[in-house]
């Protein structure tokens, strides 16, 4: 699945970005560039889906793809997908196109949810057999607090709770079509009082896939669960109570501060002044905000300028800024182009 996702991303990037951008995308790097690119190239679903990925493992897969002649890498580490790669992608499509990632929405929440879920099951099954002494498999204070809070608010009979969890999971698994083994992997990973779960390493071995694949199988399910909890919470008994955390805007911290000022009506110049930043930096923040929050183009350009940029976008069908800038009159700024792309994208 990892290979598929990388090919898919490279294909979308269309040779216009370096492979490292995909690495930052999967890691969910909070930089203006990464966030903007993920919108530009329609890759928001994969934003931050693998925050713990190691650079060396990422590089390994890139090398493998190059060796298979699926991709070629130029001097500047820009990669294009070759004919063989396209064919492979088409083949894998049938298996993986039904993935449910929504990285931009759940990147932060998903790892927490998985950990909470794992620990909840370990805890509830142990309580069910009246065992209060066990060593939690999740080694994280805030997750342990989550579970504790959840159990405090639900003073239920443990066997009822377990039955409800079971029913919820069956419901989840019956409404989606996950890739082969996904569900088995998910179940193997669970730890209960009578059986410790397999490690991701062991799962990889068992199904003869890579460790990164295991991660994607697990998180594909988690993203789906989270989305279901949002769309149809009434169908489930337990899971919605575990996932009711507020989603936060995917903004860099600095852009968040800018957003606060901007929302109060400060101008770019004023924000730059008070925050001791370059105007171009604040402009980048505004573009970032445009993808997720409220920004009006009319605050930053005339009607005429707007329609010129929009026309250029449609005609060239590229998102490469340089090409666009060269096409447009000099008085149109990079900032204006980026802003239009962002807003146009959002209305898509």
């Amino acid at each position: 699945m990892f290979q598929y996702i990388i090919l898919y991303c490279l294909n979308n990037l269309n040779g216009e970005r370096s492979v490292a951008n995909i690495y930052y995308l999967l890691k969910g790097k909070k930089s203006t560039q990464t966030i903007q690119d993920s919108y530009l190239y329609n890759l928001t679903e994969f934003f931050g889906v693998y925050r713990s990925i190691a650079r060396s493992n990422f590089n390994r897969v890139i090398d493998e793809l190059a060796e298979l002649n699926y991709i070629s890498i130029s001097g500047k580490a820009f990669a294009t997908v070759n004919h063989e790669g396209q064919q492979n992608l088409a083949q894998l499509d049938s298996e993986f196109q039904n993935t449910y990632f929504k990285g931009m929405t759940y990147e932060k929440h998903a790892p927490q949810f998985l950990a909470t879920f794992i620990l909840l099951i370990q805890t509830v099954t142990n309580l069910h057999i009246k065992k209060s002494r066990f060593i939690p498999v999740i080694d994280n204070g805030s997750i342990q607090t989550n579970v504790k809070n959840f159990l405090q608010n639900k003073p239920l009979d443990m066997s009822v709770l377990l039955r409800d969890i079971y029913d919820d999971l069956r419901q989840i698994f019956s409404t989606a079509s996950f890739p082969d083994f996904s569900i088995d992997i998910f179940v193997d990973y669970l730890t209960s009082a009578n059986e410790i779960g397999l490690s991701q390493q062991q799962i990889a071995l068992k199904y003869n896939i890579s460790k990164e694949d295991v991660h994607f199988h697990l998180f594909n399910i988690i993203h789906y669960i989270l989305e279901q909890m949002k769309l149809a919470p009434a169908k489930y008994k337990v899971l919605p109570y575990m996932s009711n955390q507020r989603q936060d805007l995917s903004l860099t911290d600095s852009a968040m501060v800018t957003y606060n000022y901007y929302g109060k009506g400060y101008s770019i110049k004023e924000i730059a002044g008070t925050r001791d930043l370059k105007e171009s930096t604040v402009q980048d923040h505004i573009v970032e905000i445009a993808y997720v929050g409220e920004v009006k183009w009319s605050d930053h350009m005339s009607d005429e300028e707007y329609s010129m940029i929009k026309k250029a976008l449609v005609q060239t069908n590229t998102k490469q800024l340089k090409t666009l800038k060269e096409l447009l009159p000099d008085f149109i700024t990079y900032f204006q182009i980026k802003l239009v792309i962002a807003l146009w994208h959002k209305n898509d």
Partner: protein, 511 residues
């Protein structure tokens, strides 16, 4: 003074009916407010020696432990016993958690921390403000330059202990030669100290050494052995790669055995899962590096195999000590091939920086006016290919030469002549190398010795040893056909559909 006897407390808090060897004497010494040095073999229950006092004594107990993972395991275990007033404060603790717990230190009965936290002046000041009834130094051999796991940052303990107005000390270790015992007491400047030294030999353990003509014989012999003896087994390796490879090989050759590997390169959840599978008897064989074992409380490990000889006898004793904690007959099996010496040599060499590296590091300090320790650390790790052991060595050498101020982590070369400094540090490196080589040859001599392995092993640490309960060693009387351990029942391989597996894990009956 207390309404209950300490046996009552033992039962009440930990559920144990009686003390194990040494525990009572040590706890009484601690409760009486004495400095105490305790040398107890691995697995004999050292932690009770401060956990129980923590329940009884007024104030808080500070425990300094070198290993993060060990600390978290311990805390989890203590919490599972129902003692909630425990906290671990170390570099891994998230910032907000850290500042919260530091502000509320007096709430905690047991405060675990790592030596590097003790340079944090804020933390030290907070510690000064609470009533510390005991200062516990876990793995105390780390303080000795001659200890096999010497950690320069342990030297800070001396000053910190003084700053905290010298509360009574409890120093704990599993392996300490008389030389190291002396060093511990000296370093901590304990004028009076009760010593409780318990023999580290285990009468339920038999020793077997197998010299193999070809390296490949090791794995085929392991396969033969495990095919015959299906018992909970740990196999120690000196490299992660090798542990992984042999684990894969065993899985292939002995599919009926459940084998996994474990080393410091796995991420934390995977590590926890593997550990717990082993404890829950879901795994039979674990291929591991020395990273595995600390804090593992599996009592029925029957066989400890060394694929490579460790670099010194002290490590060997620690590692074989994980076999047969329940007191039942267990076996240590060590493989040796003539070229193994070179592996050990290379390992030792890689732990010390050579003169060129030292020179480069010091020149960097001089040329760039480096004053921050972290800056030098970053540079050194870069030029040494991330060799942290070498870095710790260098850091210590700078510290004892007063070039490095530990408290504020600043470097001050001042008027020091770098050429002199380089050669003097190099001199120390060479000394240390010679020392380590000596240790290594001790290990190899033991392998080659023509006498009872038990006698030859323990003579370095203590006078005499207890009568072995079973077979002694391959020199004396060991024969595999006379070993009859309880075998693991063969387990069926699960091929259930996912919903059956799910129902079973969730402990419900499917409708």
């Amino acid at each position: 003074m207390y309404d209950f006897s300490i046996e009552d407390y033992l039962y009440k808090f930990f559920g144990y009916r009686s003390f194990r060897t040494g525990q009572k004497e040590i706890i009484e010494s601690v409760l009486a407010g004495n400095n105490t040095l305790a040398v107890l073999p691995t697995g004999s229950g050292k932690s009770i020696c401060y956990q129980l006092p923590a329940m009884i004594m007024e104030g808080s107990i500070l425990v300094i432990s070198p290993l993060l993972s060990l600390m978290t395991d311990q805390i989890k275990e203590i919490k599972s016993f129902g003692l909630k007033d425990v906290i671990a404060i170390n570099s891994m603790t998230p910032k907000h958690e850290k500042s919260f717990s530091m502000r509320n230190l007096q709430k905690y009965k047991l405060i675990f921390t790592s030596p590097e936290m003790l340079q944090n002046t804020f933390f030290i000041n907070k510690l000064k403000n609470i009533h510390l009834s005991l200062f516990v130094v876990d793995e105390a051999h780390c303080i000795s330059q001659w200890g096999y796991e010497f950690r320069p940052d342990y030297l800070r303990l001396t000053n910190v202990h003084k700053e905290l107005e010298s509360p009574p000390v409890l120093a704990l270790t599993a392996t300490a030669t008389p030389e190291v015992q002396h060093d511990i007491i000296q370093s901590l400047q304990l004028k009076v100290c009760n010593k409780y030294i318990y023999p580290m030999d285990k009468p339920n353990l038999s020793f077997v050494v197998k010299k193999v003509p070809e390296i490949a014989d090791k794995k085929s012999d392991i396969v033969d052995t495990l095919r015959e003896f299906r018992v909970p087994t740990m196999i120690y390796f000196s490299s992660r790669k090798e542990a992984e490879n042999i684990s894969a090989y065993l899985q292939q050759e002995l599919p009926q055995l459940r084998t996994a590997f474990y080393h410091g390169g796995l991420d934390s959840t995977d590590r926890l899962l593997i550990q717990q599978q082993f404890m829950a008897n879901q795994l039979d064989v674990i291929c591991c590096t020395s990273a595995f074992g600390m804090g593992i409380n599996k009592i029925d490990v029957r066989l400890v195999i060394h694929y490579h000889a460790p670099a010194q006898l002290e490590s060997f004793i620690q590692e074989v000590g994980r076999a047969g904690r329940d007191g039942k007959e267990s076996v240590s099996l060590l493989y040796f091939h003539d070229t193994d010496q070179h592996i050990s040599r290379r390992l030792i060499d890689s732990e010390l920086p050579d003169i060129l590296l030292i020179k480069r590091a010091l020149n960097y300090v001089l040329e760039n006016n480096v004053t921050k320790l972290s800056e030098l650390e970053e540079y050194f790790l870069m030029i040494s290919d991330n060799n942290e052991i070498q870095w710790r060595f260098l850091q210590y050498q700078l510290e004892v030469r007063d070039v490095l101020k530990v408290n504020d982590e600043t470097i001050n070369v001042g008027t020091v002549d770098t050429d002199n400094l380089t050669s003097s540090i190099n001199e120390s490196a060479l000394q240390r190398l010679v020392y380590k080589q000596k240790k290594m040859y001790q290990m190899i001599d033991w392998i080659n010795e023509d006498e009872c392995r038990r006698a030859a092993l323990y003579k370095h640490f203590q006078a005499g040893f207890q009568q072995p309960e079973n077979m002694c060693c391959d020199y004396c009387d060991f024969m595999w056909q006379n070993w009859q351990p309880k075998m693991i029942d063969s387990n069926k391989i699960q091929t259930d559909a996912w919903h059956v597996k799910l129902a079973s894990k969730l402990m419900i009956k499917e409708a």
